[in-house]
Symmetry: C2
Subunit: 222 residues, 2 copies
């Protein structure tokens, strides 16, 4: 029984890898930098995308594929910021897979997109196992979740290129030890960039914009 389950899991992951590879080829062909955005529910993925769209859309062409179990609320919020967006409803599935993303790409103007954000389902566990063909994985940790989360949910942090600590405007009102959080991140994902900001006040977001545009330049040059 357990052997069969393992084989099925391998098949699912293998099938995902094939779709992820195809996505990656499509991104390369169109010079699109693809960013997989991951976090717990409510850590601020959609708000970060709205802020990023508002501030960068005249400098660089953005697009978004956004995954949720249900509702189109996130796509509507992001569309309000003036960038092309596709909502993926996963039903009961706890993560996006590469095939779901692939289907959404036919509704995205890839040839005129520089950076594609793929907003994953809010979940700090399962999305870590499914590559989508992305270039970068960005994990958002809300300060309200606590500084020990990288130790308790290591797989998702270990695969992150960048960890954003959001909601820093709430630091005076919560028991969050930001230095301890940085120590924990240094232990679990020593090579990840760590950026602190508040999407609500905008403080610290400049570093995020700079980091993002630098990554695009590194991959596709100028």
């Amino acid at each position: 029984m357990s052997t069969r389950i393992v084989r099925i899991e391998e098949k699912i992951l293998k099938k995902n890898e094939v779709s992820a590879f195809e996505n990656r080829e499509l991104f390369k062909k169109n010079k699109v930098l693809a960013v997989n955005l991951l976090s717990s529910p409510g850590a601020g993925k959609t708000t970060l995308l709205v802020r990023t769209a508002e501030l960068l859309k005249n400098r660089i062409n953005l697009a978004v594929s956004v995954g949720d179990l249900q509702t189109e609320a996130d796509a509507e919020r992001i569309a309000g910021a003036g960038v092309p967006v596709v909502q993926i409803n996963t039903g009961t599935a706890c993560h996006l897979d590469a095939n779901m993303v692939q289907k959404s790409l036919s509704h995205i103007p890839l040839e005129s997109t520089d950076i594609l954000f793929i907003e994953n389902v809010g979940n700090l566990v399962c999305p870590a196992s499914f590559g989508l063909g992305e270039h970068l994985r960005v994990v958002i940790l809300s300060a309200t979740e606590g500084e020990e989360k990288p130790l308790k949910y290591p797989p998702i942090f270990q695969t992150a290129h960048c960890v954003c600590i959001n909601k820093t405007d709430l630091l005076p009102y919560i028991d969050f030890d930001i230095n301890k959080c940085r120590e924990n991140l240094a232990r679990i994902c020593p090579n990840a960039e760590v950026i602190e900001f508040s999407c609500r006040t905008g403080e610290g977001l400049e570093r995020w914009f700079d980091w993002l545009i630098d990554r695009w330049k590194i991959v596709y040059g100028e």
Copy 2:
């Protein structure tokens, strides 16, 4: 392929149901009320258990089985409040299943326990599908996660007997519409009790304690 996957999933869930049934029998035999505690990472499950232990441990006998991918940090915090606790490390598994809980029960003094809390892995999706033999499901929603979460993650809210809105001390500093949240909960889980509190300040916790002890009395009488 997809037919095979469905059959395997059914087998896994069937196996889980058998273990859940056995757990439930064990709870009945020992007059233990079992509470499955669910939420996103960092919504306050462990803090609620510490507060509950501090205030109720002289009135009623509590015990805790706590699930995390890694670390024993939560068990240590709860043990500090003076109640028996067992840490379950799930490795990479995104939820507790009934068999994991069953293994932990041999380390819990069930015959002298009135209420057993099973603190699930922080995840607002997957734990909804796995019954553990519990009497009650309690979902904690942190106000910082946003009022639309019941609409976006309906399965876990639909199976809740009680939804606790935590971190109400932060309401002055965040954009959380508590009335809209109550409306959303009324739509998704009209029969669930809704209790608001702040584990940090203690405000509102009395209603939680009363609700909990009432449930124990309803199940095991006085």
